[in-house]
């Protein structure tokens, strides 16, 4: 497992990140915090693409990106980490190639295994944050349980058509994913355009950067619901389920 660098910023990095470091409250210290951070990106698809690309250009130290699938032609309307030449390769490996080209200072750890109850601990490893860029709730609930048990914050997002939802989970402070979305709808081939995943993925990346850098406030206990057809954004307060089988008090 790569260790994030604890070295101060290089001259190159000071130039590369200059425009974000002049944001009030950011500066070199915050940039160094980002450089020391490790994040787990679950899924290198429609959401995982903008999430990992924008975390990379921001200078996140280590990105562990996990996907057992291979890019298919029908993915390429939205999965901008991959292109026609990557069809048949593993998505995590393809992601590493794209991300390291966009910022060679970032360490990318590609993980080619499927997330299961057995593999989740090994795959996530020691990270500061989990970003849920998955496309099914069965796997999301495995990740959620792991996040709750190990007190790792997790940014959940989901997309459908031109709609999306997003929340920042940090138990015991907030509800967990099971409190918000108990159960799993059957996996189906659903409509999706790239820009939908693009918007939600960029918002996820920003929530991650804010958390890692301590700037601004996160969507804690709030579900952001977005309808792209009308460009309506709504905040829905979320409550903990007292007897939640994942994060409930009885456990």
């Amino acid at each position: 497992m790569s260790k994030p660098s604890s070295k101060p910023l290089t001259e190159n990095e000071k130039i590369r990140y200059h425009r974000q470091m002049i944001f009030p409250g950011w500066g070199e210290k915050t940039q160094e915090k980002l450089k020391k951070s490790r994040v787990f990106v679950a899924g290198a698809g429609g959401l995982g693409s903008p999430v990992s690309l924008y975390l990379a250009v921001a200078g996140t130290g280590v990105i562990r990106i996990c996907d057992f699938g291979e890019p298919e032609l029908s993915n390429l309307n939205r999965q901008i980490l991959h292109d026609d030449s990557r069809i048949g390769k593993n998505k995590a490996l393809s992601a590493k190639e794209t991300i390291e080209r966009i910022n060679p200072d970032v360490k990318v750890e590609p993980l080619k295994d499927k997330i299961t109850r057995e593999s989740v601990s090994f795959l996530v490893g020691e990270v500061d944050l989990i970003i849920d860029c998955l496309d099914n709730f069965d796997t999301r609930h495995i990740l959620n349980r792991y996040a709750v048990q190990n007190s790792i914050p997790m940014i959940h997002a989901g997309v459908y058509g031109m709609q999306g939802q997003l929340t920042f989970i940090k138990t015991p402070e907030t509800p967990c994913l099971w409190c918000i979305n108990a159960g799993s709808p059957p996996p189906v081939v659903f409509p999706i355009v790239g820009a939908t995943a693009g918007v939600m993925g960029c918002v996820q990346a920003l929530e991650a950067i804010k958390y890692l850098s301590g700037i601004g406030s996160n969507l804690l206990g709030t579900l952001l619901i977005w309808d792209g057809t009308s460009m309506e954004f709504n905040h829905l307060p979320q409550k903990k389920t007292p007897d939640c089988p994942v994060c409930g008090d009885a456990l």
Partner: protein, 242 residues
């Protein structure tokens, strides 16, 4: 021409969206967009319009990528420094979707060049970083009755509106002046969020799906993750569209 088998597979998932279908995809393929600027906003705009299968993308930038651009301008990498940004954009976009015809325009956008640069575009995407050039583009869009998606960013905040004069206010009605050019703070995700929204507004307009941000300015504060829609009105004495 109907879509070929490869295109039918590539765009399958978006064609499942209500009122999109093969007809919508063909509309996208026969459309031309003008992207003013290949920087922080232009990057996600161009990338997501390319992935969606727009026919022709005219992307205009006279600058070259610098190291300090790379925290946000995901069209470019360190190896592209010293190339022209529009040319660098074409390389990146060709890899993302070789079906899209990308026309790189390396000339500065001025009152004299705007007509030739915009050409036969159906819609204009304002991905600029200064109001002087925006007002040139706005004047042209109003004269030609072309729709223009305006966006601007600063720090972790942004704004976006859909301008289509005479139906909506023009950019001059909303922001009559020009702010002095200066180096302002910006993180990559800020133009990321706003740029992808711009791309979606353009796609919706071309397809006739949903409702565009006409007469409404969407403002976004990323620090608090708050979105606000502000009603905007035409200036009856506007020197551009009045």
């Amino acid at each position: 021409m109907t879509l070929n088998t490869k295109e039918l597979i590539r765009y399958q998932r978006q064609m499942l969206i209500n009122n999109w279908g093969e007809g919508g995809q063909e509309k996208l393929r026969s459309s031309t967009v003008f992207i003013a600027g290949a920087g922080g906003l232009g990057s996600p705009v161009a990338i997501y319009l390319t992935a969606a299968g727009i026919g022709q993308i005219r992307i205009c930038d006279f600058g070259k990528p610098e190291l300090s651009n790379l925290n946000r301008q995901i069209l470019h990498a360190e190896s592209d420094i010293e190339k022209n940004k529009a040319l660098s954009a074409r390389e990146t976009l060709f890899n993302i979707n070789p079906h899209v015809n990308v026309v790189p325009l390396t000339v500065k956008l001025t009152e004299n060049t705007v007509d030739e640069l915009v050409g036969e575009s159906d819609i204009i995407l304002d991905c600029l970083d200064n109001f002087d050039t925006r007002h040139i583009l706005n004047q042209y869009a109003v004269q030609k009755k072309l729709p223009m998606v305006h966006a601007g960013i600063h720090g972790l905040s942004g704004q976006i509106t859909f301008i289509h004069s005479p139906e909506t206010p023009c950019l001059h009605c909303i922001f009559p002046g020009s702010t002095p050019n200066q180096i302002f703070p910006v993180a990559g995700v800020t133009p990321g969020v706003i740029g992808v929204l711009e791309a979606l507004e353009a796609i919706k307009w071309i397809l006739g799906i949903g409702v565009n941000l006409k007469g409404k300015l969407l403002t976004w504060d990323g620090e608090l993750m708050e979105f606000c829609k502000i009603e905007i009105k035409k200036d009856p004495n506007c020197p551009v569209c009045g």
